[in-house]
């Protein structure tokens, strides 16, 4: 579904993405992991068209997305830090996005589970970080998109909300949607993801099915498997 080839991006002198290539298919749930500042968010933002790459191609269902916008109808994006117009209420934000998307096929499950209806009159500027995250999550899921891109979805959510969100992610994945998650909390991803992409300093170190990774490292926990891989590869990584 998503085909990224030889993507390069520089912010000034800082080379954030170095020849990144990723392919993904329907029904996969991919975890994008890696240390802070390794280019995860930049990669996601390039796909969404928020960052313009210097070179390389990004295809979505065989069509390039560079300079396009309609493909975003099929994507739900939950940003790491949701930034919304301060003087709008939650209700207005939902109304506005709905007006832009012109979609009547709404999936209000998260919207209801997070009790957003009761908060609809609140201004975005008065919300706590966690509530803003809930709004972002509900907004990403409500239009029933084919691809879900979640940037640190559970950061800032309370355990209850985070559990609701995880259940929803599993449910959507089982419907055959492509889910892309970035996270630092590897323990949270354990029962969610089917594939894992590890990024380091703008490069993709590996892209493997979770089962293969677990077999190779002979660990049954994702967090342990990754730290084992990191230990064995840490020397060449540090040499750079």
């Amino acid at each position: 579904m998503i085909d990224i080839k030889n993507l390069n991006k520089k912010f000034g002198k800082h080379h954030v993405l170095k020849d990144v290539s990723v392919t993904s298919k329907k029904g996969e749930c991919i975890a994008l992991v890696g240390p802070n500042g390794c280019g995860k968010t930049t990669l996601i933002k390039s796909f969404l068209g928020m960052v313009v790459p210097d070179s390389g191609s990004i295809d979505f269902d065989g069509k390039s997305v560079l300079g396009e916008y309609e493909y975003r109808n099929r994507i739900g994006y939950m940003p790491q830090i949701g930034r919304y117009p301060d003087n709008m209420t939650i209700g207005q934000v939902f109304e506005m996005v709905q007006e832009i998307r012109q979609s009547n096929h709404l999936d209000k499950e998260l919207y209801d589970a997070f009790k957003i209806e009761q908060l609809a009159h609140k201004k975005m500027s008065t919300l706590s970080g966690g509530t803003t995250q809930k709004v972002s999550a509900a907004l990403a899921f409500i239009f029933n998109p084919e691809v879900l891109i979640l940037d640190e979805p559970t950061a800032g959510l309370d355990p209850l909300a985070s559990e609701i969100l995880k259940e929803k992610i599993v449910k959507e994945k089982e419907k055959g949607k492509l889910v892309l998650i970035t996270s630092h909390l590897l323990s949270e991803l354990d029962d969610l993801v089917s594939e894992i992409i590890f990024m380091h300093e703008g490069r993709i170190e590996f892209h493997k099915p979770v089962q293969q990774l677990k077999d190779e490292t002979q660990e049954d926990k994702l967090s342990r498997a990754i730290s084992k891989v990191l230990k064995t590869t840490s020397k060449p990584l540090n040499d750079e």
């Binding site: 916008y69 975003r72 919304y84 117009p85 003087n87 709008m88 007006e99 832009i100 998307r101």
Partner: protein
């Protein structure tokens, strides 16, 4: 595109600053007509007020609004909206509301007291100046991510066009008074939209005789109907070009 313009337009109309601006223009315009004993004097007073305050408010308000809507722009970008449309929507929404504020604040008293060519000319020029400075604000604010720098650029733009430019022109006039520079003066004037608007209105008011020989040259070049068309086209260029450059930059910007 209409959706985004509508959202931004309604958002700006709700802001207290644009209402205060409308009220201020209304008070200034009505009082200058009431205080001056004849209409021409009233128009001249308003002219100076308009050419001073309208650019200042337009450029500052637009700059601050563009910076404050960065969240809004970011949110729209993850939705199926064309990048071009977001920026065009922002500029159109700003221009529309600034022009509307000007029409309500100054347009009504002008039409009441001076319902002739001069009044209409003033309204057209005031609206154009609003749009031109909104466009310059778009260009200034896309240059830098730093809001404080952006506002600095906006104030410098206004200072340059409203004060410094005239200072330079006066300086040149005195230094080169030995030479026949009248035609060159017309050329230099086109470099400043505020001067262009001022001269166009002064010509309409028939006070150009007070400007001496230069005034006569202005009258000859800009006073004709083709001159009017040219200066109108130049004023349009003054908002099309800066906005077009800012649009090109916005399309390539990383958010």
């Amino acid at each position: 595109m209409n959706k985004i313009i509508k959202i931004i337009f309604l958002d700006i109309l709700k802001s207290k600053i644009i209402i205060a601006y409308t009220l201020m223009l209304a008070i200034l315009s009505w009082s200058s007509f009431v205080l001056e004993d004849n209409e021409t004097k009233g128009v001249l007073t308003i002219l100076n007020v308009i050419l001073f305050t309208v650019p200042l408010v337009s450029v500052l308000f637009s700059t601050i609004y563009v910076y404050n809507s960065s969240e809004f722009v970011e949110m729209l970008l993850s939705q199926p909206v064309k990048r071009k449309k977001i920026w065009i929507g922002l500029f159109s929404g700003l221009s529309l509301s600034l022009v509307l504020a000007f029409l309500i604040g100054s347009g009504i008293p002008l039409l009441v007291y001076s319902p002739d060519k001069v009044g209409v000319m003033m309204i057209v020029m005031g609206s154009l100046i609003s749009v031109i400075f909104a466009s310059l604000a778009c260009l200034g604010s896309i240059m830098t991510r730093d809001k404080a720098k952006g506002i600095g650029i906006a104030i410098m733009l206004w200072l340059y066009f409203a004060l410094i430019f005239d200072g330079i022109v006066l300086f040149l006039l005195f230094q080169l008074s030995e030479y026949p520079i009248e035609n060159a003066m017309v050329g230099i004037t086109t470099l400043n939209p505020i001067d262009l608007a001022r001269i166009q209105i002064l010509l309409e008011l028939d006070v150009s005789a007070m400007m001496g020989y230069t005034g006569a040259v202005f009258k000859k070049v800009l006073g004709t109907s083709s001159g009017l068309m040219i200066s109108f086209a130049l004023l349009c260029l003054w908002f099309v070009v800066p906005f077009w450059i800012s649009l090109k930059k916005f399309i390539k910007k990383d958010l």
